[in-house]
Symmetry: C2
Subunit: 301 residues, 2 copies
Amino acid sequence: MNLNIKDFEDQINTRRNYVNECLEQNLPPLNSYPPIIHEAMHYAVFNGGKRLRPIMVFEGALIAGIEKEKVIPTACALELIHSYSLVHDDLPSMDNDDFRRGKPTCHKVYGEANAILTGDALLTYAFQLIANNIAINGIQPLNVVRVIKEISSAAGSEGMIGGQVIDLDSEGKNINYDTLKTLHSLKTGELFRASLRAGAILGGLDNEKLDYLTTYANYFGLAFQITDDLLDVTGDQKTLGKPVGSDDKNNKTTYVSLFGIDKAKMLAEESVNTSIDNLKEFGKEADFLRNLAYFTLDRTK
Amino acid sequence: MNLNIKDFEDQINTRRNYVNECLEQNLPPLNSYPPIIHEAMHYAVFNGGKRLRPIMVFEGALIAGIEKEKVIPTACALELIHSYSLVHDDLPSMDNDDFRRGKPTCHKVYGEANAILTGDALLTYAFQLIANNIAINGIQPLNVVRVIKEISSAAGSEGMIGGQVIDLDSEGKNINYDTLKTLHSLKTGELFRASLRAGAILGGLDNEKLDYLTTYANYFGLAFQITDDLLDVTGDQKTLGKPVGSDDKNNKTTYVSLFGIDKAKMLAEESVNTSIDNLKEFGKEADFLRNLAYFTLDRTK
């Protein structure tokens, strides 16, 4: 790995800007009728997010050997699903958050009813976008349907939504390692995995290689979550853009509360190594994914 | 039309029972992890509903000439989308309803957070079900993707969700005929139309005939809504299973408040006639749809 973190951050930013341009072009126009819901959809999506899931879709396509332009609708769809989940998670009856990345949350701006409907609309539109892939030359309809199956499963009651149910149910309780792993694997891991796989499936990657990407995504997701927990203890509030120490204050079980800082760091490192190991069948086309995992350990936000 | 209403009700009941059996077999098992969300999904779906949307899917398939068994997952998906919309519409921040068809609403039983997630899960699972159609012999993947596009569009921010946004925004306001028509066309019409079209598209019906079904569904939807408004004035609370006079009490603009009972009845009749006229290209295979429209005028619930 000859890259330094500064160069990698440039690579991330280039990709993030590209995702933002794609999102601008792929959401329903702001003035669609009725306007308030379309305004709220834009507000919820353009929230300064990391855009990791669409970036994963593009990397999956690259690894399968097709141009990133061919998977734009699906890349956008994954970000819409992530955005909808944040809008609903922030609601008063869920996490009751007034701010997200320094901006008032969707229900604070548009009211609770509109925020619920905005989440619903983003989720629904995500599937419309994926279906739009049939208009793209070289994409097989069968693969579009496979992707819809994968993503709906990853985002559903036995995936991301199931994770949120467990998370809400775990509030203020001490949970064990297995439950914590399941919680995160469902709540964030499933959608990471589905994102990377979606791009690769649209590009026609074979099942054996898909399995490697799946394992990469599983371990990357784990490392990402552990560093999230670490940043809540060791991070800088200003860089992070959110208060630190909130997990402890909320009595939340985390990798740090279960294992302590040092062992959590070690676990994160092991996960990063395992994730990178699973890319050994791939060449330079997987370099970004290798760096993404590697630099997860150094992230400050 | 030689059928009497009793015979037609038997036809409806046979179909409804069949839909209920299909739903039993096509929801995720009750004991899937985490159990509470899967219990809540079942609770929300088995609510004594009319099952009109899945029935429409089956009729569309029949008209296109394929066996109804081939469109079961899509038929179930349409009912899941309808059920999710009811769960979210009933929430405290929306219509704040404690009962639906005599049973406590989802959030009264499972809490608000779980009810929001249950709606999300039903919507997400609907797309997983439609995608499952690829496993069915004789169904073209391209047609599955077309159906996903149609249904996501019909259920989305410029369809059903848009209708609910307009409905919430119209509360306590006097709205004109055009807005009322748009509201209902989006809130209920779009999903009726998409249901009938979905079955027909999966069966490979040509575009000209699809257009006739679309117009049928539009006018049937209008007639159905007008009779809904009429029943709120002229219906029997016991048969209806809900209080009458609630539109007037809530100062709601309806076809009856705009036109009076007699003219509203006339409008409903005209709509039924136009809907049936649009089926003249079809033979006996469209008889159920003809009867469905015809007997809408006589419905008591």
